[in-house]
Symmetry: D2
Subunit: 346 residues, 4 copies
Amino acid sequence: MSRKYRVGILGATGTVGQRFIQLLQDHPQFEITALAASDRSAGKPFAEACAWKLAGTIPEFTRDIAVQAIEPPLDCDIVFSSLPSSVARETEEAFARAGYPVISNSSSYRMDEDVPLIIPEINGDHMGLIKRQKEKRGFSKGFIVTNPNCAVISFAPPLAALHRKFGVESCIVTTMQSISGAGYPGVASMDILDNIFPYIAGEEPKVETEPQKILGVFTENSIENADFAISAQCFRVPVVDGHMVSVRVNLKDTATLEEVVDAMKTFPSLGLHSSPDRFIDITDEPSRPQTRLDRDSGYGMTISVGRVFPDNIFDYRFVALSHNTIRGAAGCAVLNAELLISKGII
Amino acid sequence: MSRKYRVGILGATGTVGQRFIQLLQDHPQFEITALAASDRSAGKPFAEACAWKLAGTIPEFTRDIAVQAIEPPLDCDIVFSSLPSSVARETEEAFARAGYPVISNSSSYRMDEDVPLIIPEINGDHMGLIKRQKEKRGFSKGFIVTNPNCAVISFAPPLAALHRKFGVESCIVTTMQSISGAGYPGVASMDILDNIFPYIAGEEPKVETEPQKILGVFTENSIENADFAISAQCFRVPVVDGHMVSVRVNLKDTATLEEVVDAMKTFPSLGLHSSPDRFIDITDEPSRPQTRLDRDSGYGMTISVGRVFPDNIFDYRFVALSHNTIRGAAGCAVLNAELLISKGII
Amino acid sequence: MSRKYRVGILGATGTVGQRFIQLLQDHPQFEITALAASDRSAGKPFAEACAWKLAGTIPEFTRDIAVQAIEPPLDCDIVFSSLPSSVARETEEAFARAGYPVISNSSSYRMDEDVPLIIPEINGDHMGLIKRQKEKRGFSKGFIVTNPNCAVISFAPPLAALHRKFGVESCIVTTMQSISGAGYPGVASMDILDNIFPYIAGEEPKVETEPQKILGVFTENSIENADFAISAQCFRVPVVDGHMVSVRVNLKDTATLEEVVDAMKTFPSLGLHSSPDRFIDITDEPSRPQTRLDRDSGYGMTISVGRVFPDNIFDYRFVALSHNTIRGAAGCAVLNAELLISKGII
Amino acid sequence: MSRKYRVGILGATGTVGQRFIQLLQDHPQFEITALAASDRSAGKPFAEACAWKLAGTIPEFTRDIAVQAIEPPLDCDIVFSSLPSSVARETEEAFARAGYPVISNSSSYRMDEDVPLIIPEINGDHMGLIKRQKEKRGFSKGFIVTNPNCAVISFAPPLAALHRKFGVESCIVTTMQSISGAGYPGVASMDILDNIFPYIAGEEPKVETEPQKILGVFTENSIENADFAISAQCFRVPVVDGHMVSVRVNLKDTATLEEVVDAMKTFPSLGLHSSPDRFIDITDEPSRPQTRLDRDSGYGMTISVGRVFPDNIFDYRFVALSHNTIRGAAGCAVLNAELLISKGII
């Protein structure tokens, strides 16, 4: 491809916005041409508006870009959005209506029945909803595509592997989520140093409902959600990045341990630019995955799974881990955009 | 009572041994007269043999006590044992045979069918097993009494409250356990800083089997274990003290949320010296219990419970927390000794 | 004393305000009769206005107290202030003018030449400034007394011990300060987990100037500051409570290591209610003081000193530690109030 | 260069040994042909002998290499050594005597007057000592070259920049060192979680003496050490990687702040494979460098400096940071080997 897509980032100064910049800065298909943030930042050079919180220093090329207000038009072909959900609903619609494909990491539209909620390796076919969305909402060129909650992305992939082969009947998850999931300033250090914090506002309902849509079946312009129940308890733990999830699952069909492991291990990655070599990396080392050692697997795009065992009450149990601001946020959105290009939708 | 019982501590230099010393130093019923530790330490003044790891400095009165080898006789009436399980089995039997009541925190004898496994508030009547134990093993005066695994003690109390009222059918637990549970040097800092470690050797089987014995029924010299299944996934997390447990439970009888809360709230504490005002402290604040804020509740002897809700798959879910080296180890053993005195067994 | 002084707390919902409540709740000389906080909280029951962040739960007796606005009159004899410095200057003056003794932990008035800056064990005689303050400011009954910055309190006591005996010529300090020093929400967890943060706004100038006033000489209604220089570099580190300070010091007179240690060890505590048994606790264990193990020494009111050695460049070096929200804030203020009572000033 | 040098790693299973493997696995000049570790490991496949502790999984190509005993001969041209100092002295000599260039990260030979102690950017000319070393010790082909202590490498570079331009007269350093500096299992988590640990065995003397040799002048087969004094207090802090150092320095010649900054900023990097773009990266952002954000600068090979200010007592103060297991250990050794090749010594 000779020309790169010009992209704008909505919420560019936030922690997910910064991840977008990091992941897109040397991307062969995209070039950043617009950075938008709250009114307070608008007009300032990005280096001044943004307190860079990722390792390393703020990328040189962004330093002097003037931050724009978060409203169309922006000088770009596509927008990536990491807006807080409070403002995302109205703003993302405005961009879609103005003709921009909106690749969103916000929760606002995830559960709308005409909006794709996508993990590319699992349910890329749900992009078919875009046609219905445009009709229903009267969008001409623009549309909204979302990726799931960052905790969901840790366990939905192994669940998908099992669901596809054996059918999932029910699933218990207990999450141990990193502080970066809450943005900046986000979690107060007094709430998390030498502490486990048992509550993340709004998280458990998301974790209990998004996977059924992702694992749903797309037919004739709609998704029929998968019909299993999820129980989620969500904890904040003192780690910087990486969401670890403890999982028990009941299957509809009988499966041996070997078949269960094999289903996960052979779940294919896609050949897209940001695709990891392995979508699901499964280990039989008793003490893996570990948050710090495995979160960067596949440049943060691989799901690490381990401790897969028969369970006393459920059929199987296992542990799953992913990087919450890469695979669980900006990286999944970028992969969504790559998928849309490969499908010819943008 | 005018005279204090003279007590010896087996494994006095370890972290649980140090907690024993801390809890017993101003105790109205006990005075420490013997400190025993591994051969390497034997003969040295305690202050020299012991790297004190609790807050504050080593208690003055212990400094010059000469550490003795871990073998009978010791100059005391009772021994508290926090020996590693590798040596506990043989050594504790030797002490019991030599006539000492052995109050043990080790796992070696917990599941022996003639050895009481006690949380005093729950199953003090299981002390009745001592008679059978003495007969079976040919002990004259001595005997062995144990307390449960430190993670078990976090959730067995609320489980007991529910089991007594409604019957427990099955139970899922996911533990987030502190580093002090592994003693010293214990967990390497490289394994736990900015990390969640998904494996604790030997822990899950203990957590899945001990509660059924504790909640079992004592009849005619034996325990009939409770007949529910437990599924446990155990994680080490970067907190100093306090084991947090995420719990789902199915009940045999129907119970409203209010009844569930009430069953826990009204579970009685005992009037013993080390008993907390409340055995189970239950809160409806959404972000409690927290490990750092609640582990010292009731001087480390209270179980903190919160986030009690109906569950999507099980009947109820909740979060439980206790201090693992006080309520979950030395404190529970001391309470066991107080119970034995109150029952006239020692 | 039959009657207790009735006290009001300004900034009662903050972390230092909470420490005031904790320290005063069973105090023999004080009873809390008024809690004041920002307009947002005024009128609400304290339990609702305050997010309690100390270990344990909010003290029962405070739950239903209606929070008042931070302005006189309040129904009390004395006010303790932990107001942010932005509002402290005006508000504390208003209370003093209205007749209240104001015992302040804020930085606003510390360096005013007519305001005592007190560590009771060191410079209680500086309370003599109150007379001048009242005259100068036209206060009738009220006045303002302050305690130092929390990092200063970690090393000013050993420095005072040396200054009194040998004269201090210069002093280098490097501080490693806990997160609780910044209040709540204070330090963002993203800024401190697995991190050392090299900057605390406004801290280095305070640390470089307050000790000279504290160690100054009170004569004829004024303080002649001590005439040595201090160099301070201040770091935030991932610990919950406790400020550790690395110190080098040059002395005016020659002193042996033994004399240096002795000067610190024999520096007297006062016999006041909140006085620790030892003001300065000095150890020769190579690995002490440690922040977590020693911060609670003397119920948080003792200064722990160790690693006292001759230095390659300065005369001596040592490490000093204190609890920043007890000895370094609320506890020092309470001790100031006790001193004022013992001197008959209130 | 067509052929790669074949290298062996002594102490391959340790944390620095693992860093060697990580840094050498895709290196254009070296290929790993031998892995040696303690007798306990010898004979086992590396994957079995080594508990891999770096992020990611053990490199595939090492899995089946049979670990050899740590004694010559090994099938390689050069050895990198990260042996514990207890065994390094004897073993490294044996390898040198057997004809191997030994690039050592151990402390054993650092201060021997005929052994180069090298930071390549600073004192590569000290490699001239090798000739004398061979003569003195009767080595034919082999020799020993060392790199400094990991804390020294954080501040020696800015010190060198100043020494070269203005002369250093004296220097105060206070270090905040990460846990990875102590290897595995290394620091017990009980000693460092929510804690500052004020003692690192043997560290302060190394930090106070190595820089004078590094900044010494090589003339006629010997080093004349730089003649300034260093005072070091060394602390272990709860961060995974990265040593932060607080520095004050007196200069022999007068220098403006601008000149000081400029001297550091312009200190050249070398053009070797592992050289970072900038040897010293200097910032004027008030809150940088931070350990977590800056330790990986220049792939862990850059020294980050900030907070350069005039000091109240010394001429200047600043903060310096480097990655202790890359720039401070394995990375510096690899750079030493690259330097030796570029100089034609190997």
